[in-house]
Symmetry: C2
Subunit: 253 residues, 2 copies
DNA sequence: CCATCTTTGTGCACGCGTTCACAAAGACAT
DNA sequence: ATGTCTTTGTGAACGCGTGCACAAAGATGG
């Protein structure tokens, strides 16, 4: 999971649980695929399989939106696509700015998934004057000095931060001051924002570390307790026990 | 949150809750920063603030690892860095392959966060023959045909998929067949994998959609109940199609 | 050596999320 | 119209994660 809520700790937004909201885009994607194949209806079982979730969970999720299914038949694909889109706010157009046009920022600018779902890249912003005017994904990069003006002129409320960690908080502050109230943060830093501003975090490194944890565990298990910890082997006295012989060779006094 | 567990639904890996594992990298980052500033010890309160979490939660998290603190003083920074690194398996070197060297793949290859934390990009793989041999981030791209050989020669157990959605499952199958047991998926698809293989998903589009949901809610609230649903107002006969243009002109009764 | 003060480690309670299992609802055939 | 069959919608139970609040542990000063 590359994510982390920041604000709104567990607030159910208008009765719809956070966990459900997080799954709606998943359902929407599966439904869109069905729609493109002109499938008229789908059962909770089929859709759940396509979205990779439990069918009971899916039904309960939909029940928060209302009773949109027909017993004995299933759900009308087109109708459900519309309902979920509306619930997620994708029936309107969201102008988005991307700040920090490095490798990642450029990748984001080129990412088709945005435009296809109601998000429009209103501007690309970078601090490097040399980047200014250079087109990325067909959009000319603008300098950071223009940030406030861009936000206001375009009525941008969602900002994406793809800058180095060091610049993130500062950029964040400027975005918020200019009126942005939702931020998607790719920089490996904890951003602090005032109440009312949502931050979601995507951290590539953290995801890999979580995988490594499970990977290590798998490796340790199959190797048996003895050769469990590669690192432990380098430890002097050790007295290694368990999969995580944690005895420090030299305790910090 | 750009994430989603796939396997291992709620399995506590050897007593450490998933939620805790997911926060360990966060703590590690904060601790590393302290370490670089040569701070010797830190209290749960301070560290929690730096990591953006509750101090009680942090203490409880650490308690799963063992009693590494000193009452009245706090935690030894260096020692904790070591313990968490070891727990996450970062004391060993993880060779990683990145498949799909488009904009995103290139960004990942250039991402410094990998190398700095025990991850080594063993190879870049792309299906486009024109890419073969071309260096990205100093590493020559190799063709997909070499995939199995690369995995085996380098003992790769972690794979990153940054291909288009259409190719993802196929690439995934080949990775798994060749011996990869952990996958970080950036393609917007649900991957199916056999038992014992972990998949973590990072989906840029989903994160934005979740933000849009809250953004819409904020906008609706301040506008009052009347104009609550922007889309709903135009609904009767539609005409207004969202970005997806999926509004059914006639609601399915 | 004792008192005080700081900070950890954790027992406990609460709430969210997940899952099961089933009754209610509707389609469809006869 | 009636019965059967499919599938939804949800009540209820359970488990995980979070946060409070406090006792235990140790440092520090006199």
């Amino acid at each position: 999971m590359a994510t982390g809520r920041t604000h709104r700790p567990a607030t159910r937004s208008r009765g719809i649980p956070e966990a459900t909201v997080a799954r709606l885009p998943l359902y929407l994607r599966a439904l869109t695929a069905l729609s493109e194949r002109s499938v008229p209806t789908v059962s909770s079982e089929e859709l759940a399989a396509a979205a990779g979730v439990n069918s009971a969970k899916l039904r309960k999720d939909f029940s928060y939106l209302g009773s949109y299914g027909t017993r004995g038949v299933g759900y009308d694909v087109e109708y459900l696509v519309y309902q979920i889109s509306r619930e997620l706010g994708l029936t309107q157009d969201w102008p988005v700015v991307i700040v920090g046009i490095g490798n990642l920022g450029a990748a984001l600018a080129n990412y088709g998934g945005f435009a296809s779902r109601g998000f429009r890249v209103a501007a690309l912003i970078d601090a490097d004057p040399a980047m200014a005017g250079k087109p990325v994904a067909g959009i000319p990069v603008q300098h950071t000095d223009e940030l406030e003006k861009i936000i206001q002129d375009n009525g941008v409320s969602i900002g994406v931060i793809a800058t180095p960690a060091g610049a993130a908080q500062q950029v964040c502050d400027r975005l918020v001051a200019a009126g942005v109230t939702s931020i998607l943060n790719f920089a490996p830093t904890v951003l602090s924002v005032p109440d009312g501003v949502d931050v979601r975090k995507v951290d590539l490194s953290i995801e890999l570390q979580i995988l490594a944890f499970h990977e290590q565990r798998k490796a340790g298990e199959e190797a048996g307790a003895a050769a469990a910890h590669p690192a432990a082997a380098t430890r002097p006295d050790a007295a290694d026990q368990g999969p995580d012989g944690d005895v420090p060779a030299v305790m910090p006094a």
